[in-house]
């Protein structure tokens, strides 16, 4: 049975096992590989997308549960090649190392800033629980603050 949802504002329809997690549907059936597989048990955050605006780990999220939802992935942050504030701040602070955790980390930061435009360190600690094996945490913290500022400057 087809499941319909909006992926980065485009309507999509997939005919897959309804239990298949959203991560694999997006990566393998819809061809957007920016979102990563890290653990498969919602422990690392590499697979974070926005589901109706909420940062969500999608490696255990059955695709059937997002029928009708708005899904946003890392690929949608830049518009016409122009990086958004979080991405710009990420480059300013040269955050990524290997980069594998970064899509999830950036999506978590983006959701945080949508909810809390001026986050404190404690807000960042609470919202960004993603694992980065390369250990870029100090730069994430700095870059989130910088992104908050860039967003205000508009």
């Amino acid at each position: 049975m087809a499941i319909n949802f909006l992926l980065n504002e485009q309507p999509v329809s997939v005919d897959v096992d309804p239990a298949m997690p959203l991560l694999w549907v997006v990566r393998e059936k819809l061809g957007l590989t920016g979102t990563k597989f890290g653990c498969g048990i919602a422990a690392c955050g590499a697979c974070t997308m926005h589901v109706d605006g909420t940062a969500t780990r999608t490696c255990m999220l059955p695709v059937s549960s997002v029928a009708g939802a708005q899904i946003r992935t890392i690929e949608a942050l830049a518009t016409d090649g122009a990086l958004n504030a979080v991405q710009q701040a990420w480059l300013e602070h040269q955050v990524p190392q290997c980069g594998y955790c970064q899509s999830g980390m950036i999506m978590a930061a983006e959701a945080l800033l949508n909810e809390t435009p001026d986050p404190t360190d404690a807000d960042i600690d609470a919202a960004i629980t993603n694992i980065c094996r390369c250990g870029i945490y100090d730069r994430v913290r700095a870059a989130v603050h910088r992104a908050a500022q860039l967003r205000k400057e508009g």
Binding site: T33, G38, C39, A46, L91, Q94, I131, Y137, R139
Partner: protein, 739 residues
Amino acid sequence: MARKRTTLGKWTRRSFLATAGIVGGGLALGLTLSPNRLKMADPDTAEKGETILNTWVKITPDNRITVLTPHAEMGQGAGTGLAQMLAEEMDADWDQIQIVQAPATDAYTNSDLGRGYIVGEGARIPAFAYPMLDFAFFKISENLVGQLTGGSTAIRLTGHHGMRRAGAAAREMLVKAAAVEWDVPAGTLVASKGTVSDPKTGQSASYGALAARAADFTPSLKPVLKSPDAYTIVGTSRPRLDLPGKVTGAAQFGMDVTLPGMVYAAVALPPVLGARATAVDQSGLPTGGGVGEVVNIGRAVAVTADSYWTAARALEALQITWDGGQPDLSSDTIRAAQDADLTDKEREVMDRDGDVDAALERGTPISLNFSVPYLAHATMEPMNCTIWVRDGACDVWVGHQNQIMARNWAARRLDLTPDQVTMHPVYLGGGFGRRAEMDVISIAGAIGDKIRQPVKVIWSREEDMANGAYRPAILSRMTGTVEDGKITAIHHTYIDADSGMPDSERPFGLQYDIPNRNIARIKCPSPLPVGTWRAVDFTQMGFFHESFMDALAAEAGADPLAFRLDHTSDPRIRAVLEHAREVADWETTLPAGHGRGIAMVKSFETIVAQVVEVRIDAGRAVHVPRVTSVVDCGRVINPDAAEAQITGSVIFGLTAALYGEITVANGQIQQRNFPDYDMLRLANAPVQAVHFMESDHPPGGLGEPGVPPVAPALANALFQATGERIQTLPITKHGFAVA
């Protein structure tokens, strides 16, 4: 191993050869190590394949400069640093530069132009590379070190010996081209920012415009290198060239490779180490629904499907019979065997001086046993490999730290020649030594050989963690004595479980001046698979040495930092320690329940001292508020990227010291995913400061040296805070929690 080393011995004194030619209307320049020029002239000799670390720079008429780097990008930013070194000597404009990872194909490694580069007089193959060399199988590439990324070599070997000369040689050729063009002496011309100009006449030409003519000249084997005072690119924080794609999701990791007609495979590996699949009952397998084939290759069983998730679900439905292996293996038995060996087996003395026994007898010796656990790499990107095998050809997409060896390995498994195997470079979602191993390519190759269509083989996190090449667990016993504030003797015996690092590169010696010493190892090979793990042996020895140093300081009633200074005359080490004292506020008083610890480890030609602060909260919760690193890595190529390597290493080291432990019971690895093998998160990450010493020394490594001091500095800080001396890692084993 002995044979390998002899074979390589002859590589140490070799001249190098430069080649130039035209590619796409521009200049392509490669420099190559060769045994002698006569042999090089014969394209059919095996020596033809003796490219060591390849460098290739290409200038095209549109004025772009492409640097092909032989090192895999796994987060260390080596490509950008290497390009900086080349661009500097070339007097290029940084905006002209782009980097590409050199493909591991014959077109690159064996063609005259692509043969690449390196190793000037006096440089040597780092001995740790020996076991990664591929001598065995094929004439043409049997002597390739190829494209190894490990041992913190990129900058200190490829860059220092290769990139700089390639850049300088290219600049000389471009200036000569302009001199001929304008009929003026080359000495009167100036090269700057990608342009050659004549100050007298005011005429100028871009490198792109001069490239074709420049290719007519023979590159100099000994180009004149710049004085470091003139550097404008080296030593500056250029943004990493690989990062834009890593914030948009565009960067292609191995996991992201997608090919027409590709299927996905999930793999089951032996639950008991070393077991083999002898039977597979497929009766539970769902039919249809995208499930493809079941493949049993003995050391693994795979199911293919039209999605990874479907394949993984189907795999769970199989009843696999595993036989053999080591079902009796447990951490306890491994430890007991090492314990017994430590006491009973004959010691192999590595370093001895003075009379340790007499000195110990005179004093009041203290003796401590230490132990460090097995550790997994847990790269963020689980192991995976996409492979397409057909008759007489094979294409491979795999994030690997040694592309050429991976290629040869695949060729051997598939009964192909190396040039029938094409490797496609992809980004590595972390390496840390794990992606220098050959298990992934072997397993994927065998599966691909049966499937005969493009297949992406993906390890689940669980299989990845339980089938690693672990940092070895080992024991150590240190005895020493102090008289009048000075260490008079140290006796050290440790287990050598063989990490795969060759002896000549492995640390065993003390880092301080101790008059009477007796250092010995006892070999006790690990029954678990082991491998290199970000600074591997240094992380073990660093913990033993620097924890014991701290214990001796306490015994002497001395300040741990001053005590270290009292035992070294090495000016670089002294400067690092003294700087640490200042910038880490070493002499300020901390409140009760806080502690500050120091450790210093020199590895890969880089000295790192770290001061770790801890706070112990209620319920033995350990919080690390601050870590200060002082680093002497010689000349810093890119300060911002260098800082990132150190801060990242501190997190890597803290994670290991606080949580890291792989255990085995009934032959099965007990840790399967992140909650069992936990990682430090942002909320627990310390505030960090990194200070680099000003230095004109050649660059040392940076990817690894930040790791070894972390664990001892943390343990030493805990001692200051609690009076408890941590002798066994990880720290959470001792009733501590992480806050």
